[in-house]
């Protein structure tokens, strides 16, 4: 039996005095899976993604990704973990406006110590694969939303991560661009990339994910996705 790529064991994340954002959640995701985390606003989706990405730490429980106890990592180890194992795609792209498309894509590799030449070659390959290579020298501000998200995906894949985490990747896109990104994620999964999507877009979940996990009030919930999203 294949070891899970992601394993959350009774994870709780509590902010201040309020109810926990995540409450004793346990979840296992195998390599090569494409999982959509679904839930309404405030259900704990983004908190879960942050915990898996090592952007935040649980108040209780353990988070293990690719054999790494993410909940135990310090700031520096967490940064190294992200750049080695995680590709992050954000709703609002989070491209750096003062860097060219190519420089944006190269950044994770350069932070990991890759030389400029090698990084340029890898970036060119990814931009070509995602169809945005003509924009390599442009600044993100000149690109359409869909193109920007493609660049963001290229940047996420730069260090060949074991896991691609996408937080509402079509949330800021028009329909056509959203379609474009959905197709891209599907293709990536088809190529063997493990993908975890955080979304409240059922269509995106259905088209890109092989499994869905529903969250409500910080717990894994049962019921249809439609019921839960209501």
């Amino acid at each position: 039996m294949t070891a899970p790529l992601i394993e959350l064991h009774e994870v709780t994340r509590r902010y201040d005095e309020g109810p926990p954002a995540l409450n004793e959640v346990s979840l296992s995701i195998a390599p090569g899976e494409a999982v959509a985390i679904l839930g309404p606003s405030g259900s704990g989706k983004s908190t879960m993604l942050n915990l898996v990405a090592g952007l935040d730490r649980p108040s209780a429980g353990t988070v293990t990704v690719d054999g790494v106890r993410v909940d135990r990592l310090g700031e520096a180890a967490s940064a190294r973990y992200r750049r080695a194992r995680i590709g992050l795609v954000f709703q609002f792209f989070n491209l750096l406006d003062d860097l060219t498309v190519a420089d944006n894509v190269m950044l994770p590799a350069q932070l990991a110590g890759m030389g400029r030449g090698a990084a340029e070659r890898r970036a060119a390959e990814l931009l070509g694969r995602l169809g945005v290579d003509r924009h390599a020298a442009a600044y993100p501000g000149r690109l359409s939303g869909g193109e920007r998200q493609r660049v963001a995906v290229a940047r996420a894949l730069m260090n060949k991560p074991a896991l691609l985490l996408a937080d509402e990747p079509t949330g800021a896109l028009d329909t056509a661009s959203g379609e474009d990104v959905m197709r891209l994620l599907t293709e990536l999964h088809a190529d063997g990339q493990t993908v975890v999507l955080v979304t409240h877009d059922l269509e995106l979940a259905e088209r890109c994910a092989t499994r869905t996990v529903q969250l409500r009030d910080g717990r894994v919930a049962t019921g249809t996705a439609m019921e839960l999203l209501r």
């Binding site: 942050n50 990405a53 952007l55 935040d56 700031e75 520096a76 940064a79 190294r80 992200r82 750049r83 080695a84 992050l88 954000f90 989070n94 750096l96 406006d97 003062d98 860097l99 060219t100 420089d103 950044l107 994770p108 350069q110 932070l111 990991a112 110590g113 400029r116 600044y139 501000g141 940047r155 260090n159």
Partner: protein, 791 residues
Amino acid sequence: MSALTRVVRSGVGRKRVQTVVIGLVVAIAVTSAVLGGSLMAASQGPFDRAFGQQRGAHLTAQFDAGAVTEAQLAASAGAAGVAASAGPFTSAQVELTDEIGHPVPPVTVVGRADAGGAVDRVVMVEGRWATGPGEIVLASGDRLRFGPEVVGRQWKVNGAPVTVVGIARSASDTAGAWATPAQLASWAGDGPRTYQMLYRFSAADSAEEVGTGKTAVEASVPAGALTGAVSWLDVRREAISDTILLVPFLIAFGLLGVVMAVLIIGNVIAGAVSTSTRRIGILKALGFTPAQVTRAYVAQALIPATVGAVLGVVAGNLLTVPILAQTNQLYGTSDNGVSLGVDALVFGGALAVVALTALAAAARAGRLRSVDALAVGRTPRPGRGRWATRLTSRLPLPRPVTLGLAHPFARPVRAVSIIAAIAFGAAAVTFAIGLGTSLNRVQEVEDIADVQVNALHERGPGEAGPGGPGPNGPGPGGPREPEPFNDPAAIEKVIAAQAGTAGYMGVARGEITAAGITGELESVAVTGPDSARYYRMVSGQWLTGPGQIIVSTPFLTAAGKQVGDSIALTSNGVRLTATIVGEVFNTDNDGLQVVTDMATLRAAEPELAPSMYYVSVRSGTDVEGYTQALKTALEPAGAAADSLSREPDEMVVVVNVLTGLLSLMLIVVAGLGVMNTVVLETRERVHDLGVHKALGMTPRQTTAMVIASVVVTGLIGGAAGTAFGVLLQRTVITEMAGSVGFRLPSSVLDAYGSGELLLLGLAGLVIAVAGALLPAGWAAKTRVAVALRTE
């Protein structure tokens, strides 16, 4: 509580770093300005201030006690033009010897019951006034300087024991010492004595006015009774030669402080407003008028600025007091340092600068349309500095460093202002070090000699002030000139043979007149292998043979001569012609001293021989041990050796303390300026920072990026500041010397070595990095999830 007050309160509380930085920068800038301003106010004619505070005598007159009665002198107070008078006081010249029997140059002792009065209110420097028999108060001034340890010692006057009960200072320089009138009468006995009268005239601004007063006084007493009189203008001229040295120095520091304060405060306030643009948009969307927004932000800046300004005024005055205590001692003033005018001016000026800068920035924000203000992002507007980002990305450096290096170019105006702040900080360091080096080099000339050898008597306590009499002059107090050595060759042989001798110079002092200069000048005829070391050449060359002289700038100015010219001299009644072969930096005899070879003056005085030898010992030699050994060796030759103390000159100490203090303040202000800018930059880039960290930037890489963001500004600021500091040092030191008529030798002017300049250039980088360390740490600790959520 009104909505506006709530906004102001929450703004002050929410941006704690900014609030603290505004408060601190204003506090330090105000401290520096109050200190500089108070000292400048105090330095504006310290003599005049001291003279005014002491109600100094415009005319110090001596009368023959046998030719006039006390009643007649008291009546002279009614002479035309006399506004106030003091006296008559009896005065007499006495022979003083210290506790170990060393004679002190003869001093004029005045019998005064107390230090106060209508004229010449003498200030006690140490101890108390003489109140009974057997007590004496010594005068401390330009001529004689005594340490506090002298108070309480048993000295002798004309062989009779006396206790030194105090040291006092008279701006009018009316006496060498004071005692009670009864005690003075006892000392004077049947010997010659005079009466001293001190007058203040209703008009005494010019020599003519003082002369008119003197004539009126003279006419009011029996003919021939007035035996001598000193005008306060002559005393003043003598006194201010030191005083005016401080003025250019304080002006330089004052200007540096003011410009830096304006720059930093402006930068802090403008930054504070610019980071709040979005908040301003929200406030306007909620119904705040532009005027309310402007008032809110000006108030937010003024609250910490006012607290800072109050603290600064208090700190500035507290710092001024001990420094002025030193200058008070130097100038005989009694300023407490608190100048309400300066305090008010600096306080009001600082708040006005804060208010104006905040007003300009807040008014701009207030005018923004709400929708535009809300749309203003935290990252710099795209397009600025991209060329720098592209350029630095090509550098063979780690990516976080190249990213940081490009940051300042995204905000060029802010970068320029912070470069200026760093430059002023670096300039302050450079200036301080250069000034200290220059002054110390001037002092070094005085300190070349370790030991003096003379035939007549050992150095008395009153002769050697700080630094000892030095080879270039007779020393404070003008000790009686030692007798020439009968057999100088024998003395030289002993000195040369003594283990540890590095070099020596023999000196014969005399009087000489020079064509074109009125009055007698001091001549110094030198001999020995070491003589050239005691003088620093400004131009020309050292003496190479007889018939040559070297002189200072004031001599050349007074005589209308240049190096290379010949000049007619008269020594011992014999006319000589000498060539001026060099211009030297020599402040003795007000720069009018003539230095020549022994052989030159022997033409007029064949028996001329050195009366003093100055000896320098080899490095590492125990001076006291050497002196004792030399003393023993010289005894058969009828000479004595004394080691020379090397206490720093009081003026140098004052300038060094001030320089260090003001530099430190300017550096701290520059560092705070950098810190504030980096905090602003970090805030503005917090979202980008989150992205970087999400992509795998480690805390160490984050720190490197933030620190790299100040490297360019630090280097440029450091280089510019060093250049400016060097220029300032040369200008100020030249001006300081020029104000007393001297030109400086290049060895004094060129205070910096190339290695030093390189290090000073890096001072800007150090200031910048030090200022960036704290915010870099904050940036490194910023949680990614929080940063990404921050808009």
